[in-house]
Structures are given as C-alpha cells and as structure tokens.
C-alpha cells in the first residue's frame, strides 16, 4: 500500500521533471517580456511574428530540413542494405564489420566531429550543408540499422523463397514481399534519423562552415536576451511538430502490424 504510493509519487515526480520545462516553452512564448521569469507580463503573439520575420532563422530552418531529410533518406537506404546483408548473408569478418558500423552509436560525437573536420579540411573540401549531411549519415546509420535489423529479422525467410518459387525474380520478390513487410521499420528509421539529425549540434557546429543550422542558430541566439522569447516561440512549434511526427509514426507502425497480423508489442504510444 505505502510502497505503491511511493511508486506513484516517484512516477509523478519523474514526469514533472521531464515535462515541466517543456511546458514553460509555450508559457514564455506568449509572455509579453524578454525576461524568462515569473511573474508573467501579459499575453502577446509578437514573438511568433518576430520569429517568422527572421531571415537568418528561416535559412537555418531550411538548412536543417534539407540536412535532416537527406540524412534520414541516406541513412535509411544504407540501413536497408546493411540489415539485409546482416540477416541474410554470411561473409568473412561479418561480425567485425557490423560491429564497426555500429560503433558511432557509442563513440563520442565530438571525436567524430573533430576527426571528420580534420579529414575534410585536409582534403580541401569546403564546409557546408553536404559535409553536415555526411556527418549525420554517419551517426544516424547505426540507429537505422538497429531498427531495420529487427524488421528484417522478423521476416520469415520462406516468404521470399515462396515468392521466388512462384516465378518472381529476386528483385520483384524484394519489391513485392520484403519491402511492404519491412515498411513500418523503414518509416521508423526515417523518423528517428530525421529527429536525430534535426537537433544534432556538435557535428553541425563543426562541419557547417558558414551555413547556419537550427540548433547552432538557437545556441548562438542565447547570447542576446531579447532574442530568447522568439526562441521560446520556435521551441513551442518544434514541440508540436514532434508530437505530430510521433503520432504519425505510431499510426504507421500500428497499421503495419494490423496489416500483417502481428502482435502489438512495444511502440511509442
């Protein structure tokens, strides 16, 4: 009885700690004052209009979206190839190769960023969006592989053989049977990679050159107190977008499970 109450309070405390700061975002986004402190100064939407009128911010958002979408697509493509190879084929040194691909998962990002910067500068590559994409693909791919591996692993091998046996080619088997069945995994991989790339700071900071990305821009703006409320407004919009994204991902995941008759285990929501 008391133990149960303690657990309840613990859970509640955890949730407050997790979400209270996020709840502050919309509160101060609509607060008519540049100081992030109570008491509130009154209601305003001027921070939102200020944010939408900011050309640098718009550029940062555009860059970040380009980077996140490209990184997500590339990492997921690489993830599909790697997961397919890891689950279907045996080749010498397979364990080691897969291990090395997964390593960036635990490698400190700062190390990846610094070493990449060194190599790129050494090669004379000019920094910009594409170098950030390169770095992000590197760190997103292990996540993509982890997600896609489980999708490919749960695929019964005889499904492929059955399609092949019924006259399809290897390629059409992949398109007609494998892709639809791992589609939920692909969607998850795209969304996770997109999210990781979108708020990645260290690699973007080192490799972006003069191109701003969203997290780098936000960080730079915190030096100016008058810019902070607009950042709060931006944060509010990002939180809403994240919730929408998560809901969409969950919808596709559930639909995928329902379609293939699997049992619902785990998931986000």
């Amino acid at each position: 009885m008391t133990a149960a109450r303690w657990f309840k309070m613990y859970a509640l405390g955890y949730l407050v700690f997790l979400y209270a700061p996020i709840l502050l975002l919309p509160i101060f986004a609509f607060n008519d004052g540049t100081i992030i402190a109570f008491p509130l100064q009154g209601f305003t939407t001027k921070w939102f209009s200020q944010m939408f009128g900011n050309a640098t911010l718009a550029l940062a958002v555009k860059n970040s979206l380009i980077i996140a979408v490209s990184s997500a697509v590339l990492a997921t493509c690489l993830g599909v190839f790697a997961a397919r190879a890891a689950t279907r084929y045996t080749f010498p040194g397979k364990g080691g190769i897969i291990g090395l691909i997964m390593l960036p998962l635990v490698l400190p990002e700062i190390i990846v960023a610094v070493s990449l910067l060194g190599v790129l500068l050494g090669l004379g590559v000019s920094l910009g969006i594409w170098t950030v994409i390169l770095g992000h693909v590197l760190i997103c791919t292990p996540y993509a592989i982890a997600i896609l591996n489980s999708a490919f692993q749960s695929l019964d091998r005889s499904l492929e053989e059955a399609a092949y046996d019924l006259g399809e080619s290897r390629l059409s088997t992949f398109r007609l049977i494998i892709l639809p069945l791992v589609a939920p995994g692909i969607v998850s991989s795209l969304l996770i990679s997109f999210t990781i790339s979108l708020d990645e700071f260290i690699i973007a900071f080192f490799l972006a050159g003069t191109e701003p990305t969203l997290p780098v821009y936000i960080f730079s703006q915190f030096r100016f107190p008058q810019a902070v409320p607009a950042i709060m407004a931006l944060g509010t919009i990002l939180v809403l977008l994240s919730i929408m994204l998560l809901a969409i991902a969950e919808y596709f995941r559930r639909r995928g499970i329902a379609k293939s008759g699997g049992k619902d285990t785990g998931g986000f929501l």
Partner: protein, 361 residues
C-alpha cells in the same frame, strides 16, 4: 513403371565439410505420391530443396521431366513448393496469395480471377477470397499454400512437412484431403515427413533416409513387412527382435534356430539383407497371437509368461517373456467382446507363423 518425372543420379551435397546428401540415386514417376521419410537431420529437406532449386547439388545429376536442371533457377523450374511454415504472404488477401504466381501469366484478369476461384474451391476455401491471409487458422493457411502452389500447374508439387504444425485431428483430415487432391490433379507429389504413419497412409512409395542416404525405397506394405535393415525396421512401427542362428542356406531359403521360437524355415524373400551366422529375427507385434484355453495355433506356438499389460481400449499390448529368452517380446491383440484381458504373470502360449519373420544381420 510410369514415365519418370524426376531422375536423381548420385546427387551429393556438402554444406562446408558437412556431407548432407551422400549419393542419392532414384527415379520418381509421373503422378506418383512419393514420400521422403527419415529422422531429423537426415537430409530430407535438403533433398527437397535441391529438387526445388533452392540448393545446388555439389555433384550429381538432377533431371526433371527429362531436362537437366543444372543452372536452372527455382523460379523457372516446373516445381512448386508448400513450405513447412506455409509462407503465406501476410500483407495480401487470400485471393492475392493464391493468384500471386499468375502475375506474369499472359491470361486476362478475368481468366486469372476464375482460376483463383477454381483453386480456392478445390481446396475447400470457397468464399474466403477476400479475407486477410493473416487471419486464417493453421488448416486454412495450409489450404491457401496448396492452392497457391497448384494454380501454376507444376509437374511436381513439393511438400515439406506440411502437416506437422496441425493438431492430430486436423492432420488426419488433411492427410485424406491431400490424397484426394493428388488423385484429382494427377501430378507428382513429393512429401517430406518424419511421421512414419503419415508416410504409410499417403504414399505410393516411400524412401527411408538415414544420414544423407536412402536406406530403403519401397511401397508402404513392403516397407512395413520386409524392412531391409534393423534400422529401417526400428524406424517404421514396432518390431521385436530375437537372436537367431542360420543353420543352413538352401537355394530357396534359410533354416534358422530362433531363441524362444525354435527352428523355422524362411524363404529368401524374408532375408533381404542375405545375412549369415549370428543374426536376428524380427517380427511385428500383430503377427503374434495369444492362445486362450482350448485354442490351437494354425501354424506354430511357443510358451511364455505375460510380463506387462498395456490396455488401449480397442487394443491390448502384452509384453510376453518367451521361455528361454531374457527380453520380452511385444504383441498386440484386438480386444474382442467376451475375451478377457490377461493379467500380469499369466502363463500362456503364443501362436506365430514362420512366414511373418524377417531375418536381419
């Protein structure tokens, strides 16, 4: 012999160092219901997958319908497979599953739809076409898998333990349906199973496999009555063994002395392995009969004592220790109204016939 549809000539298969198929040579006829029977790991699936084209033989020749299959991939071979897991495409409907193989067929959509309906009807799934495939029961999946494979009109249908995932009742029902289906379509069925009863019930011929080799290939009755080795005899049903000695070999048979039974003359047919010296004699439980008071054996009889009684309702199994033999032999009696089941320890006489004995090395 019917026209051969599958010819295997010294087919060998290595997985790395592991020798999975050790020289398979056999011919399977058109329209035959052929079974591959053997314990787990003996290479049944490997042989089936080799015929299907999923595995390449390391050496040897495989011909289907007279054509050498070397370099012919699975998707163009005139064979289709029913997988052990059924491999029903879970994201498609029953209809889409059954019609999957017709995608490249030049026929019109209406003709294809008609073919799908015909085949659904053939396997007893009329009206199930629009269902989601993942919502079917095990038996229904099995039928979808059959229809999906048969719609391509293969020359040979390959079935890898198709009934092992079903419960006993469903299995027995599907056995009968498979036989009916095979007669209806008239093509060769090759069935892999480790269930000897299933093989005996369904097959025209059975190849018993051990360790990558065919130990015996015969029709069910010959296989049951005249197994060529103790290993085959042990694998198929129950067989009693008694030590024996060959006393003399005559042009048309053997004279043997069997422990507990005495002297008997056997024909050459009863000794498929042509053994000599110290041998064993085998016989099935149902070839022995307990003699009750006043009954006479039609041929021979031997005395013994009932050691164990296992009552099955319709049958009773007795373990009887024949005089002069250490190990008991098992015999089965159909329970008939008015005939008492014997108690343990009863002295009794057992009737047998020399013609039911088989001689082993």
């Amino acid at each position: 012999m019917k026209r051969p549809i599958i010819e295997l000539e010294n087919v060998q298969k290595y997985y790395g160092d592991y020798h999975a198929l050790r020289g398979i040579t056999t011919t399977i006829g058109e329209g035959e219901f052929f079974s591959l029977l053997g314990p787990s790991g003996c290479g049944k699936t490997t042989l089936l997958r080799t015929i299907a084209g999923f595995e390449d033989p390391s050496s040897g020749v495989l011909k289907i319908d007279g054509k050498d299959m070397d370099g012919v991939p699975a998707n163009v071979r005139p064979t289709n497979m029913v997988f052990q897991s059924y491999a029903i495409f879970p994201h498609l409907t029953v209809e889409e599953n059954v019609g999957f193989g017709l995608r490249r067929d030049p026929r019109s959509a209406a003709d294809k739809a008609r073919a799908v309906q015909e085949h659904l009807e053939m396997v007893g799934l009329k009206g199930y076409g629009k269902r989601a495939a993942h919502a079917l029961s095990g038996g229904q999946r099995q039928r979808v898998a059959l229809a999906r494979a048969l719609i391509l009109k293969p020359k040979v249908l390959l079935l890898d333990e198709p009934l092992s995932a079903l419960d006993k009742k469903m299995r027995e029902q599907m056995q009968v349906e498979l036989i009916r289906l095979q007669r209806q379509v008239g093509i060769t069925f090759i069935l892999v199973t480790h269930d000897q009863e299933e093989a005996l019930v369904m097959s025209d011929r059975i190849a018993v496999m051990f360790e990558g080799q065919i130990a015996q290939l015969d029709d069910p009755e010959t296989l049951y009555r005249l197994p060529k080795s103790r290993q085959v005899a042990d694998f198929i049903g129950t067989m009693n063994f008694l030590p024996a000695q060959v006393l003399s070999e005559t042009p048309d048979g053997f004279e043997v002395e069997v422990a507990g039974l005495g002297r008997a003359a056997l024909t050459a047919r009863q000794a498929p392995g042509r053994p000599t010296g110290d041998v064993a004699v085998g016989f099935r439980p149902e070839t022995l009969t307990i003699l009750y008071e006043g009954q006479q054996a039609a041929d021979r009889e031997s005395p013994g004592i009932v050691e164990e009684v296992v009552y099955y309702g319709d049958m009773t199994y007795y373990d009887v220790k024949l005089d002069g033999v250490a190990a008991p032999v098992r015999l089965s009696m159909r329970n008939v109204f008015g005939r008492p089941v014997l108690d343990r320890g009863t002295r009794t006489r057992v009737a047998w016939a020399p013609g039911a004995l088989v001689l082993f090395r």
